[in-house]
Amino acid sequence: MKMVRKTAFFLTAVIAFILPLSSCSEKVSVQPVPVEEKSTNSVIGAVDFAHELDSYVPKKDTYNFYFTYKIVHPWWDAVALGMEEAQRQYLEKGITITYEYMAPEAASAEDQKDRLARVKNADYDIIGVDVADEEIISPVIDEMIDEGCKVMTFSSSDAAKGCKRIAYVGNTHNYQDGADLTQALCEKLDYKGKVAILVGSVGAPCHEDRARGAKDTLAKYPDMETVAVEYDMDSIENAYNLTLDILDKTPDLAGIICCNMSNPVGAARAITERGSDTVIVGMDHDEEALRYLNDGVIYCLGVQDCFSIGFDTLQVAVKIADGNLPGDLYPELTNEITTIIYKEDAAQMLELLYGDIL
């Protein structure tokens, strides 16, 4: 049995190594809005709150799940609301789903590893993981799978290629998101100038992928110079201080590429404080970031559909818990879209997400 698992792991690793990155992305539909469009219509459909459960009939009346994610942060609170809506709809159908949705105060792969170790033998139908660090967590997941746990990954970070996790629901195009944001920045700066890259947590696949996408895009333009790459560990305060440091060192900083939700908020605070003209591009839907976008401090934001991530995660979890494997019932990779929005879209997005026009 162990030999079979090792062989499978080996084959998976080989395939992951051989296949180029694009081969994986071919399975999914990445839908960033082309930079050229910059339309206010881009908000429509960016986040879908009108979900209904599909026609799948669960085999049990009760389910108990455990989900763990990188860090206590509003981004994952938005994912949680999608989960709660799915849970409510299941409850209306007479199916009770209980779950835990847990994260540390500070991003930590070791903490996630410990959590998974604690819960893997508990009575959970599914364990969902938003991978904190693919190098550390992927083997843990494989081990859990080998021990008979049903493990899926979700939200913005999948496990490493070849990991045995059963399915992933979330952003499957982080690299492309990073590339798209950077492309927008380069266009804005007329393809020249000094830029910095702010990343989230070290090792977090989504953040690292976006950073890679940013770097690869910048590399295409010789007049674009990367002066700093810093990690804020998903802390706005860190992002703010890091930006101030970068501005001190590079007063003529032309742009900042922000790869997570806290980056653009901290950067915008620092830029506003300094009165700098530095152009900010960044990720996610933080209310403060959206207001900076509306004010023109942030140039554009890549908004992920967190609600759909949460809703679909729970729906896929039920199917996995019933013993179904990826196929007709659900794909191995359930992609959720990212939409790049601009100043013109900010008010509408604020109203959509927070119900308040400035």
Partner: protein, 501 residues
Amino acid sequence: MTNDKERISKGFVSTAIIGSALVMVILVVITVWASRTTVSTTDDAVAAVSSFYLEAMADYRARTVNNLINNNFEHMEVALNVIKDGNISSQEELRNSLGNTKKLLSLNRFALVDEDNIVYTQYTTYTGGSRYDFLSSDKLNERVVSTINMYGSSKQLCLAIPTDGLVIMGKPFKACFVMIDIKDISNLLLLEDQGTTYFALYTKTGGNLSDTDLGPIKAGNNILEKTKDHISAASWEKLSADFEEGKEGNLTLVWDGTQETLCYAPVPNTGWMMAILIHENVIHEQFREMSESNHLTSRILIMVTLFSMALFATILLLQSRKASRARLESEMENSRMFKSMANTDSLTGVRNKHAYSEYESKINDKIRSGELKDRLAVLVCDINGLKIVNDTQGHAAGDKLIKDACDLICEHFTHGAVFRIGGDEFVVILQDRGYDKMDETLASINREVEENIEKGKVVVAVGHSVLTGEDEQIHDVFERADSMMYKRKQELKAMGAKTRE
């Protein structure tokens, strides 16, 4: 005399008509003036009433929200006691307890939070440090009311209380809380007359919480932003300051040509502002309807009053005329009676000398006018022996003799006018039928008189004469008849009748 009465009567009628008309005019003028005054003061009243009305509505709804908050806090305290007494030893028991308590006390999303900011609800357990601001502090010291803008535009009222001493499954818990969807609160407060009167809840910065339209300010719009171009800068500054400081107030604004009245009041403990708006033209419309109704009532009252007055005046006039007529008739009757009394001989009941004089005058007029030329006879009758009877038997016997004589004359001259023109003298005027039977009647009375001489009864000497074309007045006829009467008196004396001689 009659003319005076008619003049007085006409004067009375004229006065009544003019007086009534004057009263009616005064009534109409006063009513019109009162009506116009009412209309002119309506505008002032509208502003005052609408402000009062809206302030009361805003205060009432603000108190309703406050009561809702207090009730939930009380229920949470009860729920905590139930959970404390529950001896919960597992997460499953905790979830069941939370579910039962939530259901029992009708609490929305009831949750416990442990010291690590892990939130426990009926179905889920999650790390909630980034989701609820009140969890940012390590320890909760007092009740907390906060508003949460949820991702997805859902807005929740979060009520939290500290849970000092609560330990479950070996873990200290620091708080419990409920979440109330502000849409549910909006439904609770929804105005019945939505469409004319609106309400909405706002944050201190003017953000719409209730997802309700406030008249022209649509749900979701910031009230401070939207009103900026519709009120003066000073009013907007005050509005903004009132919102920021949680002060109540009101203002009017014109929006698309419609005047709106806006009242706002703080909702205690929430940092919210309750705003009520009403289209002022709605109030005007209601006032106008009431005013028109009052005008209609006034008009009806005036018409009824006028009709009543006219009816009353008519009745009064008729009554007055009736009374006048009655009085007139009474006076005429009295006059007739007095006249009758003046023309009647009190002893015999026939007409007296005065009546004869009037009669004589009328006959003379007719003779002079040629209307009466003949067929009229004058008989002069004189009682024989009256003085002797008076002197010897007394005046009572004399009076009886006069009555007997009168009776005798009247019995025979039934178709003639009999007058007593002196103590013992009567005149009979015969016309028409009486004239035709005069000879027969004279013969009859003379025969009875002659018989009476022997019987000792009343003896009357009768002389007569008829009107001729030569007579200028009746007295001429009288003179001839009187002469004849004296002759007859002599004849009767000769027959044995008593005379004073």
